[in-house]
Amino acid sequence: MTRARKIAVPLAALIAAHLLVVFAGFVAPYDVATQFREHPYAPPSPVHFLDGQGHIHFRPFVYAWKNNGNFAEYEEDTERVMPIRFFVRGDRYSMLHIFQSNVHLFGVEEPAHIFILGSDGYGRDQLSRLLFGGQISLFSGLLAAALSLALGLLCGSAGGYFGGVLDALLMRISEVFLALPWLYLLFAVRAFLPLRMSPVGTFLLLITIIGAVGWTRPARLVRGIVLSAKERNYVFAARGFGATEWYLLRRHVLPQTRGVLLTQAAILIPQFILAEVTLSFLGLGVAEPVPSWGNMLSTLQQYNVLSTYWWMIIPGLVLIPIFLSYYLLARSLEQQV
């Protein structure tokens, strides 16, 4: 693979994943809070082309799940073929808070439900929750990384370039942050918060906390690069020609940090996604009924769920290709630098 393609492939995969979650309302067949209470822990609905009589259908179809009397034990109701319809009307949703719609990519008619990835303990569609949950999980990683890189760039370049007391002060502060047990810090912060917090408020808070805790490593890396860059001969030359400090920083020093920042971004984003997942898993993230991958996984804390309903692990499995893409991206960027 060429170098450009090595970057393009994981990047395209990541962009696709983010687009999917951005347009979750359209792609997901149901609202995240809709509870089909007669279908708790329904397994993923198999999509068929061939019915019980051996007829081939060109339109894919599912069978409704029929409860056999025991809790969460189902069999397919093969009496009735329920074709999957595209661009159907269903629950209302709003996209990016800009426009509202009720058209969904696919769905089936009542009384059947389509649970491509199964349902959870309340009978909520896992696929819909996974997609909407991605909005919280993926974007909290992205935004938190942006925040911590911005902070890192600011503190690192200021310390590295101006040196002296400012540098010593910033670096000591960063050491304090490095030594902080951040999980306990988050517990503490969460305990002081008001009871009623909107999901958006919690989301922003999570990003702020995760981002604010993670700025130290990029700051130290940036500082190192700035320290060496400002000693270069061409910097001295430019200074000799009367360049201002701001010009030097902008034109000669900061561009050198670009590679490090990009690589750091590709490393920090998955780390911060994981941080959000961990927090939500422990119940410190967004509250019900808003999903995030972490709080979807939190039901797995119960042994019986873990051992009985395998599809509840899917939000954890989804993390693997996402993290792999970020890893490949980080490696290719590093090589390029």
């Binding site: 708790p40 309340y122 019986n304």
Partner: protein, 579 residues
């Protein structure tokens, strides 16, 4: 009676309560001859506890693990048979009550001995009650033994006869003796006189310095791992074949912190009894009970009731404006009734408890067969009724379906639920979705249990909370602390000086009347009325009562689990291993 405060809290904390242990009735001479199947000696029983006991001192033990261990080592004068829920003789061989039901004369068994071989007589009884009633000792049992602010008086008539005098007639007098363990005067008098009784019998107590009248005695304690009890060779029960109980050589309490871990240990055969598990784990174990050689028992509804609690404290005005604003709704009877109508209790039963629970409209569960009012209607969900009630109370809906009060404020509130209790979190999430359908926006706030209790009991900074209460006994007197408006566990309105409304005053009157009423029919009538008021006024919205689910190895004989705490070990003296 400010009594029961600590007991009530305890019940909240662990959803279980007061208990002792047992055997079977019919006494001949000094030994009690049990009626249960005669077994064979030998073997040990291993059981898991959530945490280490804090102490081995019956006077100060508050936590469930301590009480589970201590109750195997001690005995009381009269005890409640967990299976029949009736009182029966224990250390007292018989008793009589005076005509005015204020004086009880108890005859003690003669010639029986503590587990160290020292004899037991009326002096030990008098000493024990002196300790329990001493305010300086701060015993847990004192609250139970103080009626109307006056302690029970105890007098020794002769070496084997004691008389108890109550300040006023007390309907459940015999039941008071259960869980009041008799203490050995010869071992504890010294430390009592030195004022050190509360700190005596910690976990580091030497085996020779602790003795009781229970079926087992202390063998060893290994910090962080286990407590081992061994057979008490001086125990006062024999079976129909003349074998002295207990049958088991040892009981081992292992410390296994989480329920899931306990289930795994049981499944692996490491432990012999599972004392109370949730419905999901029960379902998992049920699948392979045959192959593993254990049996699981669903005992039906216990005494525990889950409920949605509305903050009705009146000290919030000015201090907590947000809460006070929401309380205007909570104080409206029709609003509370509407919430109850909107909640789908059947969904809670199936989704949270896998069908192993019973929907409730009032606080007394169907498990309490003697006292629950069977005439109360079964709760049925009706959104239409809920909306009618809200409309008639002046609530309106906006175009987007949001419910607003008469001032136009949108109706929204939060529900606190213990983060470590998956069932309560699930109930809150279901209620959230239910109330969404009548236009109420609810926020579920999972919170560490201590923090939740702190808000409910201390700061009163909450809207609503999901909690559970369950008394240790079926008798209504055990619920006094919850339902009296001045009671210590009157959770929705704590620290009230007088009843906040006429119906609360009526509950107070009925609860006090039944406490001193001797005629059981009149008592039942009074308590039925309390339940009817609760069902109509809904100071708390009762949700469901979970079934008591237990399990044991099939080879364990005389296993007689009961819905009263301790569910499985209460007749530990009769348990034996079949060959």
């Amino acid at each position: 009676m400010n009594a029961f405060l600590r007991y009530g809290l305890l019940a909240v904390l662990c959803a279980r309560a007061v208990c002792a242990f047992g055997g079977s009735p019919s006494s001949v001479g000094d030994f009690l001859v049990t009626k249960s199947e005669a077994g064979r000696l030998g073997g040990k029983l291993i059981i898991a506890e959530r945490s280490e006991p804090k102490t081995l001192n019956p006077v100060t033990a508050l936590d469930a693990p301590s009480r589970d261990v201590i109750r195997r080592m001690t005995a009381d004068l009269i005890r409640i048979n967990r299976s029949t829920q009736l009182t029966e003789p224990a250390l007292a061989i018989s008793w009589t009550a005076s005509a005015d039901k204020r004086k009880y004369t108890l005859k003690l068994r003669r010639g029986i001995k503590f587990s160290d071989g020292h004899g037991f007589d009326a002096d030990d009884v008098v000493f024990s009650f002196q300790v329990y009633l001493d305010e300086k000792v701060h015993s847990v049992q004192r609250d139970l033994l103080v009626i109307d602010g006056k302690p029970i008086a105890v007098a020794k008539l002769d070496q084997y006869t004691v008389q108890f005098e109550l300040p006023k007639p007390y309907a459940a007098a015999e039941r008071l003796f259960d869980s009041v363990a008799m203490l050995p005067r010869h071992l504890l008098e010294q430390s009592y006189k030195e004022g050190k009784l509360a700190s005596a019998w910690g976990l580091d107590v030497p085996v020779s310095a602790i003795a009781g009248l229970g079926p087992f005695r202390l063998k060893e304690y290994v910090a962080g791992q286990r407590v081992v009890l061994e057979r008490n060779p001086f125990y006062w029960k024999i079976d129909s074949k003349g074998t002295r109980l207990p049958y088991l050589d040892q009981i081992v309490f292992l410390f296994v912190p989480s329920e899931d871990a306990q289930v795994l240990r049981f499944e692996a055969g490491d432990t012999d009894i599972l004392s109370r598990i949730n419905a999901e784990n029960f379902a998992v174990l049920l699948r392979d009970q045959q192959a593993h050689g254990f049996k699981l028992v669903d005992l039906g509804p216990g005494l525990e009731y889950n409920f949605l609690l509305f903050n009705s404290n009146d000290d919030t005005t000015g201090r907590l404006p947000d809460v006070a604003r929401h309380q205007v709704w909570f104080r409206e009877q029709k609003f509370r009734q509407a919430i109850s109508e909107a909640i789908d209790r059947d969904a809670i039963v199936t989704l949270v408890y896998r069908g192993r629970a019973t929907p409730l409209i009032a606080q007394v569960t169907p498990g309490n067969k003697l006292w629950s009012d069977a005439s109360l209607p079964k709760p049925e969900r009706s959104l239409a009724k809920a909306k009618d009630l809200l409309r008639s109370a002046g609530f309106r809906w906006k175009a987007d379906g949001t419910l607003t009060d008469s001032t136009g404020q949108p109706v929204e509130f939060s529900i606190l639920a213990s983060a470590s209790n998956p069932q309560r979190k699930q109930m809150a999430t279901l209620i959230q979705a239910d109330l969404k359908q009548v236009g109420i926006n609810v926020q579920v706030v999972p919170m560490e249990f201590r923090a939740q209790l702190d808000r409910v009991i201390q700061t009163h900074d909450y809207d609503t909370a999901i909690m559970a209460l369950g008394s240790g006994d079926v008798d209504p007197t055990a619920e006094m602390n919850v339902w009296l408006s001045t009671g210590g566990t009157h959770l929705w309105h704590l620290g009230a000086k007088q009843p906040a409304s006429s119906w609360e005053a009526e509950i107070d009157r009925l609860m006090q009347a039944q406490e001193t009423e001797i005629d059981p029919k009149k008592r039942k009538h009074d308590y039925d009325q309390v339940q009817q008021i609760v069902a109509a006024q809904m100071p708390i919205i009762c949700l469901v009562s979970p079934n008591i689910l237990v399990g044991a190895k099939t080879k364990l004989a005389n296993f007689q689990p009961a819905i009263l705490d301790h569910y499985t070990l209460w007749n530990a003296d009769e348990l034996f291993w079949r060959q």
